[in-house]
């Protein structure tokens, strides 16, 4: 039982691979989808596994896979438009790191949310950074993002960082303060602004802010499905203090 990757086109070397998989506030897929649309990235590869529900997706009448990689010369984006079951997360993390290494990627950046209880009071959510090596996060934290110093991470981005740590591959996690169980395009906008600052891009987040309400209405179903997998992925640990902290 593993993942298969069907490549249509190979990316050029030394690219950054951004990853947006359904999790807290759906910040990952909202950000990844916005990057794909803003940068007009074409489909490079389709991913599938027997561990996933038997789904096919249609966009503008065109059949596609719910998990796929889009890209251009120096940026690739892996997006999942479905919640990934926990048992499928481990082999997917392994496959992503192996694929990135085989294609000579420069680094991986996972995009997600970090649940905060005061999200309703925050006009502009802060963005946190952590990485497979402390030095990568320290370097990025010089540019205005907060470094995550204590606590647990769970879900796909935790597994990707773990796998990158084992393989000694540079992987970074960007986490925006967000709602836990409501789709959060505002948190995604903060994340895109952080990407602009950290990686020298200039993506205008105005369209994302303008579509905020529509995105929140239309992603309710995906949020509901994602909550089921988040319960199995140990998300409650993100509220837990590590034993060595005491």
């Amino acid at each position: 039982m593993s993942w298969k990757i069907y490549e249509r086109k190979s990316p050029k070397s030394k690219f950054t691979l951004f990853i947006g998989i359904p999790d807290v506030g759906l910040v990952g897929p909202i950000s990844a989808s916005f990057l794909i649309k803003s940068l007009k990235l074409e489909t490079l590869a389709l991913l599938d596994s027997e561990m996933m529900p038997p789904l096919l997706l249609f966009h503008n009448s065109e059949p596609t896979f719910p998990v796929r990689i889009h890209g251009s010369d120096d940026i690739c984006v892996l997006i999942s438009e479905v919640a990934i079951p926990v048992k499928a997360m481990y082999p997917l993390a392994k496959m992503i790191i192996e694929w990135a290494m085989e294609k000579d990627a420069e680094k991986i950046v996972t995009l997600s949310g970090i649940p905060v209880p005061n999200r309703l009071e925050l006009q502009t959510p802060r963005v946190y950074v952590t990485a497979s090596k402390k030095e990568y996060a320290e370097e990025l934290a010089k540019n205005g993002v907060q470094q995550l110093k204590e606590g647990f991470m769970s879900g796909m981005h935790a597994l990707i960082l773990k796998e990158a740590y084992i393989k000694d591959f540079p992987a970074i996690a960007l986490l925006s303060e967000s709602y836990f169980n409501y789709p959060d395009p505002g948190a995604a906008a903060s994340l895109i602004n952080a990407i602009n600052t950290l990686f020298g891009l200039s993506i205008d987040v105005t369209p994302l802010r303008e579509q905020e309400e529509e995105i929140r209405v239309k992603l309710r179903e995906l949020m509901k499905r994602t909550l089921e997998t988040m319960r199995q992925a140990g998300k409650e640990y993100e509220y837990t203090l590590p034993a060595m902290y005491a």
Binding site: Y182, K218, E221
Partner: protein, 143 residues
């Protein structure tokens, strides 16, 4: 003959368990629309804050508090709200290819609450309802 009551009792538990299971399955697998009332079902959460319950409901597109109706009974809460603009699901047959501009949700409360002392606030499309629990405390003598 003396065991009949026990068999009936087991059957009753089984019926209750099956009802509970079908309610959970309905909750998990049904879409977040009610075609009968032409309304969208919002996402919500219930937090137990000790002496009160906090119900938080995500109502994107609802800006005017006067467009929100909250009705309560002993253990049920019915919330209906109108969006500023309709949201189109015209490409989605599973949403009957139409637009929606109303939310409706009926929530079963885990405790009896005092609706007369409840408060509600709408901020940035999120409705927060504070419902004080109806709790009677009895003093226990310690010897």
């Amino acid at each position: 003959m003396g065991e009949d009551w026990f068999i009936e009792y087991i059957k009753k538990i089984r019926r209750e368990f099956e009802n509970l299971l079908s309610e959970v399955e309905r909750e998990l697998y049904s879409p977040l629309i009610d075609y009968r009332t032409k309304t969208l079902q919002p996402l919500y959460e219930i937090a137990d804050l000790g002496d009160k319950l906090m119900i938080r409901i995500d109502l994107p597109g609802v800006k005017d508090p006067s467009k929100v109706s909250i009705k309560g009974s002993e253990n049920k809460l019915l919330v209906e709200a109108k969006m500023e603009r309709p949201t189109s699901f015209e490409d989605l047959p599973t949403y009957a290819c139409r637009s929606y501009n109303y939310y409706r949700v009926e929530i079963t409360l885990p405790f009896p609450v005092d609706f007369k002392k409840s408060r509600a606030k709408l901020r940035r499309g999120v409705l927060e309802i504070e419902l004080p629990k109806k709790i009677k405390y009895y003093k226990v003598k310690v010897e």
